[in-house]
Symmetry: C2
């Protein structure tokens, strides 16, 4: 089978090696300079510290200085570095990207480049390439409820591969699915790409509900469910505004990914701390002390800025996202009352 | 405000007293003969044993022998007895029902009467009335993520009131909402009514995933999320086949209610036991020993029968429901493999 190069040896990059190797691909894993020590460890057959699972034996490892060799003649390039690093890395490798059959993004989100405007990451990559007079191959967004440790261990997982040209997504779905990694192909690249960063914001909101319940010793299951529904609704509204299919939010990329992200993890943990009574500053400090960066903090800021730039009253339809933004800005709010106001139906 | 009579003093019937009393209604609570002792207890101001919350002081209590007085001049009648009892009770009170402004169902589901065909409960009630040459007032289905204990304690709750005539639902949404009980009005009575029993079946499936994870000591969050998505998808497909709006399944009545029902409770507990390794018979016996009837067992049987009667290939689009049915029939299956087959995308 053809060669695929995964850029980024964090939990998700490493985890993707497993299904691709199982599906018969020739898999290369490249790491940034922050990953060199990690790659030394992985090359001994040791488990990845963030998934607890070793790489498949067949994976070829490339250190940070070997980017050119890692990309040589690769048919598919997978961007799995953190989202903020993607534009810079892409600029470095425009030529091998242009020669590949497709570019996959497991990194995704809202992205802000020099002109200050927020765009989808894929759109910013296309602009970067255009400015350099390079044509990118089709972009495939890889999303859905994929916790890296389960994916790496070949536990049953249902990712979404989304591409404007659905036939490209379908082709890779056929070529990369395994019994444990069964891919849903989607033509709604925009809808899927919108859900990925937004679910981090809404996972914070679910953490907030869970923290409130712990704090008060009183169940808030009904409020949690209403929060979940409002989150899916707002992902649908946001996607539709950009031309996406609102049903995408009710599928694996929206509801599905929020189900796994809203149970535990960094974004949920941050929201939970606020619910338990921490100030925003305290919650940030506590997460930092644990060495845990909270992706949703920046992505919420970008999402609100993006919604404002899109206009058409979009922000008015995102009360839950705005409420999360208020919390992140440290505005003094009563979390239970604010959450109830944001997610309960309005009857007047 | 006008008089509302709630029939059935179980957890949900008693819980509904709270928002209606808070919204200013004159609330009457009637119990079946199985509820007489419970009503003696509640009339002393003691908490309801299933919600832990006493009735509001203003509620008027009627014993089983006082059905006529309970219904006299009542503007709204709320059916909150168990679903299987609804048709019989309705036959007894057709005249006061016909005189009311509307009939609300918190009991809901698939219903089988003499001719053997399965129908929505509301449809069967309309047929029963028609046969007796009585015209029922508009039916309002009360659904959504409403755990009774939280509703009774006036914790934030977002129910759905659904009626073919959405203006009726909207009117009651205005007249019955309180700050803690904020009603979403819907015109999709069919879609809402389909979700209510189906969510019990899917809560069993989620219990099964959770049990498998406990049994194996290995997380199955990705599979759980895929199961959740498939459940919402199947509720949408089923509703659409009956003329409902598929988005209803992604809202409070579908996704929302499944979120609370799929975390804990009887249906989830039954599925969890199977996942942990119990046979269907053992799981039934364990639940029976705890005095817990599992609503989803009968409603899954009726749902499958209903789907079969509807035809048009509907059953082919419900692999997860069929898998739950196989478990309930005690078919020997490998639960992990069967679940993965039912919920993971098919790529061929």
């Amino acid at each position: 089978m053809a060669t695929v190069t995964i850029l980024g040896a964090g939990a998700m990059g490493a985890a993707q090696c497993r299904p691709l190797a199982d599906a018969g691909w020739d898999v290369r894993l490249w790491g940034t300079r922050f990953d060199d020590e990690l790659l030394d460890l992985l090359s001994t057959g040791a488990p990845h510290p963030r998934t607890g699972v070793p790489l498949p034996d067949s994976v070829h490892i490339y250190r940070s200085g070997q980017l050119g060799e890692a990309l040589a003649d690769s048919r598919v390039v997978v961007m799995a570095v953190i989202s903020a690093q993607v534009p810079r890395l892409a600029r470095e490798i425009l030529e091998p990207l242009a020669n590949a059959d497709s570019l996959w993004l497991t990194s995704k989100g809202f992205s802000q480049v020099e002109d200050g405007r927020v765009r989808l990451l894929s759109e910013n990559l296309r602009r970067i390439a255009q400015e350099a007079h390079v044509e990118l191959p089709p972009i495939v967004t890889v999303a859905g409820p994929v916790l890296a440790d389960e994916c790496a261990a070949a536990r049953p997982t249902a990712p979404v591969f989304a591409c404007h040209d659905i036939s490209v997504a379908q082709r890779y779905a056929r070529q990369c699915s395994t019994p444990a990694y069964s891919i849903m192909a989607s033509g709604d690249e925009v809808g899927v790409e919108v859900c990925a960063p937004l679910k981090n914001s809404y996972a914070m909101a679910l953490g907030l509900v869970d923290g409130l319940s712990e704090r008060d010793g009183a169940a808030t299951h009904n409020l949690r469910a209403a929060t979940f529904v409002q989150a899916v609704h707002e992902m649908a509204v946001f996607g539709r505004q950009l031309g996406g299919d609102p049903m995408t939010a009710a599928g694996l990329a929206g509801l599905g990914d929020l189900e796994v992200t809203g149970q535990a993890g960094r974004n949920h943990g941050f929201g939970r701390r606020i619910g338990l009574g921490a100030s925003t500053t305290q919650a940030r400090e506590e997460m930092a002390a644990l060495g845990q960066s909270v992706e949703g903090i920046d992505s919420t800021r970008l999402a609100l800025l993006f919604a404002d730039q899109i206009g058409h009253g979009l922000l008015d339809h995102l009360p839950l996202l705005r409420m999360v933004g208020d919390v992140l800005l440290g505005r003094e709010i009563d979390p239970l009352a604010s959450l109830a106001k944001a997610v309960l139906p309005r009857t007047s």
